[in-house]
Symmetry: C2
Subunit: 277 residues, 2 copies
């Protein structure tokens, strides 16, 4: 199967590499992508084509792995080229957004499989799972059989893979944002020492966890805001409170400046508290 990856970012390049490792030809489109992306794609064994039309014409399947806010735009661009193969939307989007992606591509003549990736970029076996749902989910899973990326078919229902990704990230990224917000509150109120005293007695892991969370989330926070808004929309559509993830979006938005460079808890707390002024 000839596959295309949209686009070889930190995660997408490793998804492409996993399919490539199992013998599939995997392509990417160089148009408008950065030098960093070029290097990542090359290192991952992906083959370049120059424009999206060539990718759509030459591939049996396309896998979209991009920031949540770009998922629908990406789908529209592919649909406009008349792509009629298999399109996998593996992005962290709400079932509603996944439904909109599916609608435009189905109208163009493509088949769509819903996907959701849980875990870090694929470096070793067992680290990362690609959840899939939809009538042709099994065909996509087969592309990764024997690779480091574990594919898990949830069933034939479109939207299930996205819903699972939303629920999973609602806890991981939602609780991380909450933890940082709590440390910021204690700092603002002048009771950080008191909070650490209470945590040392009633939750000793929370002190180091909050420090580690600041360091690990800050460089990725620029793209977490959009994901939190997709999660908030998912809660709202289910008749559940969307507030948690509106708050989490605000926390990550305030941390968006940490994409590059060293960061620690103190710098994160400064960013969270100074945003208000």
């Amino acid at each position: 199967m000839k596959l295309g990856i949209l686009h070889p970012g930190a995660m997408g390049s490793t998804v492409g590499a996993a399919a490539s490792a199992t013998g599939h030809e995997v392509y990417w489109c160089t148009q408008g992508r950065s030098r960093e992306t070029h290097l990542r794609a090359e290192a991952s064994g992906l083959r370049p084509v120059t424009c999206l039309q060539d990718l759509a014409d030459g591939c049996d399947g396309l896998i979209s792995v991009c920031p949540p806010a770009a998922a629908l735009e990406q789908a529209n661009a592919v649909a406009a080229l008349g792509f009629s193969g298999l399109y996998v939307d593996a992005n962290a989007v709400s079932p509603q957004t996944a439904g909109a992606v599916s609608a435009v591509l189905t109208a163009a003549g493509a088949d769509v499989v819903d996907g959701g990736i849980v875990g870090p970029p694929v470096r070793e076996g067992g680290s990362t799972i690609l959840y899939l749902s939809g009538p042709r989910a099994g065909e996509v899973a087969a592309c990764f059989e024997g690779s480091h990326l574990e594919a898990h078919v949830l069933g034939p229902t479109p939207g299930h893979a996205s819903a699972l990704k939303m629920a999973f990230a609602a806890w991981t990224k939602g609780s991380s944002a909450l933890l940082l917000a709590v440390r910021a509150l204690a700092q603002a109120e002048g009771v950080s020492d008191g909070l650490l005293h209470a945590w040392s007695r009633f939750g000793p892991e929370l002190c180091s966890r909050s420090e580690a969370t600041a360091r690990s989330t800050a460089p990725k926070a620029w793209r977490f805001g959009g994901e939190m808004r997709e999660i908030a929309a998912t809660f709202e559509a289910a008749g559940l409170p969307s507030d948690f993830h509106r708050g989490a979006a605000e926390i990550y938005d305030r941390m968006a400046g940490f994409q590059h460079g060293d960061v620690d808890l103190n710098k994160v707390l400064d960013a969270l508290l100074n945003a208000k002024r």
Copy 2:
């Protein structure tokens, strides 16, 4: 020192018992209280007086331990009786509410110490800490020296004990509400099995934790809603997102019917999901 407890609820009765165990005379006011409260107060060795005026006249210190929404009303009632002793507000309220409590009592001639209780009702040493702040915090702490209730003075600043309690509960009760909301979302979307699959690989404690959280929080949820709103107000006043705890308040409000009786995760999820209809 003669102390009064307002009122001997599940927590307050054990606070009174702790002071009583160290040799202080501890009183409570029977007016308008339930038979359950009578039994708890008697079992805790507290001495009854019939009305609030007698309690205010006869005690050197009063300790308020009541649901957050009642804290200011309680302070107003005591201030109206001309109480001029030492008043400890040990409730889970925002520093702003603590400030309002302090203002009415100070105007009446009383001295106020801010308090915040972390941990369960006092049953054994090391389980529970009463954080205190304010100029006379040390005198209150002395009342519990040698008892099962550990008193910890944060310093002379009014509001610090309340702020610490808010920050501490913001994580514990906020994250519990988030976890239940996530399970409800997965249930609503038909992906509970998928979520448990992902958790079994990436967070194996979350399955049992969500079940235990449902059982442990449901009977107390009726009073958590008010506490979440105090926490939301604290975040807002600090220029931080109040959304997390508005969402948590909504979750606990939907669980308010579980004050009595057996409950498990499925019943909690039903309550969370059916509230929308």
